[in-house]
Structures are given as C-alpha cells and as structure tokens.
Symmetry: C2
Amino acid sequence: MNNARKISTEPYKGVRDFYPEDMAIQNYIFSIMKKISESFGYSEYNASVLENADLYRAKSGEEIVNEQTYTFKDKGDRDVSLRPEMTPTVARMIAAKTRELPLPLRWYSIPNLFRYEKPQKGRLREHWQLNVDIFGVKSIDAEVELLQMASSIMRAFGVKDSNFEIRINNRKIINYILNELFQLSEESAHKVSRLLDKKEKVEAKDFEEGLRENLQDKTKEFLTLMNSKNFDEFVFGLPKSAQAHEGILEIKEVTEKLEKLGVTNVVFTQTLMRGFDYYTGLVFEVFDTKPENRRSVFGGGRYDDLMDIFDREKVPAVGFGMGDVVIKDMLETYGLLPMTKSPADLYVCVANKDARGYAEDLAQKLREKGLRVTIDLTNKKIGDQIKCADKNKIKKIVCIGQDEVKTGKIKVKNLLSGEEKEATEDTIIDLVNE
Amino acid sequence: MNNARKISTEPYKGVRDFYPEDMAIQNYIFSIMKKISESFGYSEYNASVLENADLYRAKSGEEIVNEQTYTFKDKGDRDVSLRPEMTPTVARMIAAKTRELPLPLRWYSIPNLFRYEKPQKGRLREHWQLNVDIFGVKSIDAEVELLQMASSIMRAFGVKDSNFEIRINNRKIINYILNELFQLSEESAHKVSRLLDKKEKVEAKDFEEGLRENLQDKTKEFLTLMNSKNFDEFVFGLPKSAQAHEGILEIKEVTEKLEKLGVTNVVFTQTLMRGFDYYTGLVFEVFDTKPENRRSVFGGGRYDDLMDIFDREKVPAVGFGMGDVVIKDMLETYGLLPMTKSPADLYVCVANKDARGYAEDLAQKLREKGLRVTIDLTNKKIGDQIKCADKNKIKKIVCIGQDEVKTGKIKVKNLLSGEEKEATEDTIIDLVNE
C-alpha cells in the first residue's frame, strides 16, 4: 500500500460528522419528532437516498434537477439522484400500492436529503428532515391535525407558544387573485408568486419594481391588498363576491378549529407562498418570533395532484417537513438542548488481574438488569482508571479488588459529590439509579 | 408540466423501500443492536454517506474503488463516493480529533452502506450495518468484550446458543504460517489467503489446484495443517517452536475468557480470513449453525494500522459489523421476528359533526398521557369508521356522539374480542393499556 499521499481527515464538503455529542443531540431531536408523530397514530416509513432522476424531472424540469441535485450516471446508464426531498418518494411508494393501502394513511419519516448548493450557515448539502403526511382526507380537518401536531412538536421541545407562530395562507385564494381578479397570464402569475415568496428577503424597492413589470397600472391596487395588516382587512379588500371564496372559508375554519384545540398562535400571511409548485390549497410555515431568525422551522401544505405523474387516481394529501438544522439552531438559541448524555451509568474499575473475572460477571449481571456498564480495559492504576471514567463523564464507579471478591461488599462512588455508599451485588442497581 | 411520459413507481435498482411493516422490523432490529451496544457503554456516532473517494483509494486501490463503489465527480471536480463500509470513516473521525478524544473509545453506529454490484438474494446495493469498535486497547480483553457483545446481541434477538457459532482465527498465526513456515513470496501469500477465504465456496479440486500453484510440493503438508479437525490438532501440527506463538496464545486466552463469561459456542477455524486487508490480529465471524445458511451474520477483528493513512500515531482497534439483511433472514428462519406493531393504541370514532370538538380534546388529552391515538377524519358512517380502525390493525376504539359528550361515559371496545367496557375520560387509559 502506498502511503506517500496522506489522506485528509475532513468530511466531504458541506456534510457533517456526528461525533457522540452531536449524535446525542440529533437522537434527542428525532426522539421528540417520533414520539409526537406516533402519539397521533402515524407510522414510520423510509426508502433509499438513491432514486431514479426521472422522479424529480417530471415535476421540476430537467434543468433544476441537473443544477440543484446530486445526479450521476450509473454503469447501466441510468440517471441516479440523491433525493433532494421526500415527497416524490412517498408519492411513488403509495402509487405503487394504491390498491393494498387503506386510506387514510398517516405516515412519517426522518430521511436525509441532499441538495447541490454552496454550503452556507444552516443550509448544508445534506440535512435530515421530519416528513409527516396524511393521504386520503379531502376535508380541512387534515390540515388541522397536522398543524396541531406541529404545535405539539414545538411544545414537546419546550418552545413556548409566544416564541413561534404558525403562518398560513391558501393557494386557492392567491390563484384567484392572480388569475381572476388581476387576470395575469400564466407566466406573469408565476413571476408574481415567486416575488411574493421572496418578499421578506428583497428590498421593498426591488419588490415593487418586479411587481410593476407584471401588473403595470394595477400595481398599487395589488400592493394595497398584499399589505393588509390582518385577515379581516385582507378579506375586506377583496370584491364582495370573493369574500366567501373557498380559500377564505378554509382559512377561517382552520383558524377557528385550531383555536378550540388551544393552538392560538396562528397568523394569516397573504405573502406566504412556499417554493414548491405542487401545493394546491392551504400552505403554512412555522417561524421563530425572534425577528433575527427569519427562517421557517416547519413548512407544508396540501398537494392533491402529486399522483398525476404516476398515472394514478388523485389522492388528496397534506404534509409538512421540519429540518434538523433549523430546529437545532432554534433550540440552542432558547437554551432548550438537553445536557450531554453520559455513555454509561456505571464504570467498573478492576484493581488487579485476579479480580477481573468477578468484575466482568458483575458488569454483565448489571447490564442484564438494564444498566449501561463499562468495565475498565486499560489495566492502569486505580487512580488512572477513575480519571478515565471521569473523562467519559460517567458519574458512578465501583472498584473491584480481592476484598470485594471475597466479601461481596462493594462501594458505589459518586464522582461528582465524592459520596460513597456500600452495596451488595443486588443493591448496586438501586444506588446507581438513585 | 409534461405528463406524457409516466414515471415508474419502482425504487432504484437494488435498493429497498421500507413500508411501515418493513420499517417496524428494521426499527426492532436496530433497537436491539442499540440496546446491547449501549448496555456495554458504547456511544453512537454517524457521518454522511458521502465521502471523498480518496479515503477508500488509500487502502483498496483505484481499481476496486472505481469498480465496486458508487463514485462520481461533483461540479468542483471532486471524486465523491457513497461509503461502501464504515471503518475508514470512523478512522478518519478519530484521526481528526486524536488529541481531544479520551482513549479507550467505545463507539457504535448503524450506517447504510453502498456497493456497486449485481443485486442478488440478500446482497443488495444498499444495506444497513451495525458497526461496533473499541479504540485504544492493546490487550485481548478488547476482543473478549466485543465477542461477548456479539453473543449478547444474538441472545437478545432470541437466538439460542446452539443456533449460532463464533468462528475465530488469528492473522498473526496465518501470517507466520504463510511467510515464515512456508516462506511464500508476498504475492503467493496473498493469493493463498484469498483461496483460504473462499475455501467453503469453491470445489475441493479447484481449491487444491490453486494451492498447488503457489505451494508446489509443500501443498500436502499445508493441506494437512489446514484440514486439522480442531485447535489442538492444529497446534500439534505446527513446529514445536511455534506452538506458543503469540497468535496461538491469543486464541487460547480469548476462548478461555469467553468460556468463563458463559460464551461457549466459540470454534477455532483456521481457514477464516475475512476479506479486508487491514486486519492485523484476531479475526472472527458469527455463523448460523444451519448448514443451508452459509453466510456470516457478524464479522470483525483487530486492525491496529488503520490510522497510517492519516499520518497519525497508531491506535489499536477492534471492531465488528453486522448487516441488517442477514440477521433479518436468520430471524425470519427461526420465527423470531416480532408481530407487526399497530400504528395506534386507540381509534376515536366521531358519530357526528357536533361531537368532533369533544372527541379531539379527548384524543389530545390521551396523547399527553402517553397513548398513541388516531381520530377519525373520514366522516363516514360509524360502521365504516370501525372498519377503518380494523384495517389499520388498531385493536381498541371509542365512539363519541352526543350521549358521550353529555354524560362523559365512554365505551372502550376491543375489536378482537368484541368486549365493551364503560369508562370515563380518566379511566380510558387503563382500559386501553389492559
């Protein structure tokens, strides 16, 4: 083997290594996501990160797939992508078994997703994302359930209701405004949607200029509507005939139902668009209320047409996604991440070779009772063994020497308090769990 | 959007979709792996599936990396691989932080791994693998601990000791035999190693012929040694001066220590080689004792030289890997896979619109008490709602109508037994958990 060129210890550009302390945080975040999803009766599914590139080309177009996803040719000349999002995958899986799967389906997954872009703070090339979807429910109750879940997840993380808000909008009313009220061409409507989506990220001047190119002399009227300060003002700004539009009624119903369920931090936001083209009804995003943090923690909505690309019957669907990086940053900001977990409940020091057999037996018995037990393998002096426990943040230790083997009396020491208590094989577990 | 060409619902070639019932099995397998690893004080880590291709080229050579791994060029002209194994990654992570990480380190991970080969039964292009490693322990006690863990994992799955065996060998003694005893050239030694590795998979005639090409007139002598029926016969076949070789003593010590720990299904297997070039001492594999199933469930060994490629000081290391596909097949064969888990503990049927608010409140209260509760969103007739619970394998239901809202008396029905019991909001949880 040729070692002339030494290998870098850095991970690949834009992806993360998860050392045990990072992994513990990720596991904590995933465990809350799983617990709440399952408490609503959602089942976990998964798939490979590898997907046929065609799956994305159908909706996003060749160019976006080639530019923004990791796509390469395999030896069978197939175009393979690393999945950039989970929704096409779950749609594919359901389309494959439409006859066997009993609707409604409640599914969740926490896949890793890849996007090919310049790494920047919080937007890496690989991230994990909770995806929750309900398939087969036409009524707005599906949206209510998912928003209730989103709220439950935030609360389970310890985030106060005052620290986040749920912004909602409805594609149906936006489509009415663009296509019917302002009678824009398909192209102009698309451009204006994009502009609205970016409103908070661009200068007011550039925003207005962009609008003017598509709306000309109707720009002011459009701006007045889009700058409404709340839902009532927005509705009042619509023509009378549109004030009871399906999209408006849905927003009212969702807000009222959530309020009855104790979810009161819902804010109508007429500029909320969500980037993806496949949404067909209600869309929503959850934001940190701190103005410094402008990124959405959750995002989702209704997408009833996604089965089209598989030539299957329509299946109504509502779903949301929540990224691991954004929520981790938010929990960090609010001091809500848990303390690092110690790798073991007890460290067994071994005073000499003759005591090892007994010590190993003891360790195994305690493991079988449910303790996490590390036994010393350094064979160093007792003082150094204790240092080793300490460095690994293991709080409690026992030392096994000839005395302990003979008498069966074992002292459990707490390295934080310095306190020592005598135990027998049978009572150690109680002292460790204290 | 152009839907003229409909998209396939198949996953990419050689990878799996995990529908909820598949995911439940994988989660079960992973939970046992995690539980036992953590009971020994091992900490979980992870990394991205994407790695710089150089990481594998250093040890395996350009050709193997290009032929057997998924490797492609990114837009920055970097060669990127989908990791084919986890050991180079964990070695890289440790090399990056040698000064901060307190040795010994006990780490585990359950990564997905990719290999570019023809899909065949049980050998897919993507699989998951438990990787357990201990770094920084020179003594054979590290091997003992890992083999004890391997045995604990098999037992935790419910596999009887008589249904699996732990085969062990030692690279040190094999190297002595090839290089010193039979004085083979480096090339011949390598070829003979490969032959031994494949002994059980090739015809005896081809095996012997392959040996003869490298060992010529010493073939018979070599075969006698390699056909020894047990460890004692094997040792007896060595020259007197080699009967206390370090490699021999280690095998004795490991076997004896494991026996004291109650692990008695250890079998010395002189032809066991393990494919990877980086092993330096004890090697081991766990096999199903059913002769029909010739694939190893676990495999691992000592690899003390892996840090070399990073220009770091040597760190002694022992590790093993256990694939999800092989263990799943084995558990299936022995009838040890658990029953499919129901997605919820309780299904709440809603008799009419006016009862929905109360029903949703109730569902949420029960979730907060720890139950997994699905509420009906179909708004179908009660009979159809119950069918929906049944199709989803949810055993217990309640139906909320005006009577229940008024009286607070709620009947919990068991769909399997047909039994109904009356409860109040507060006692439902006990009846569901019964």
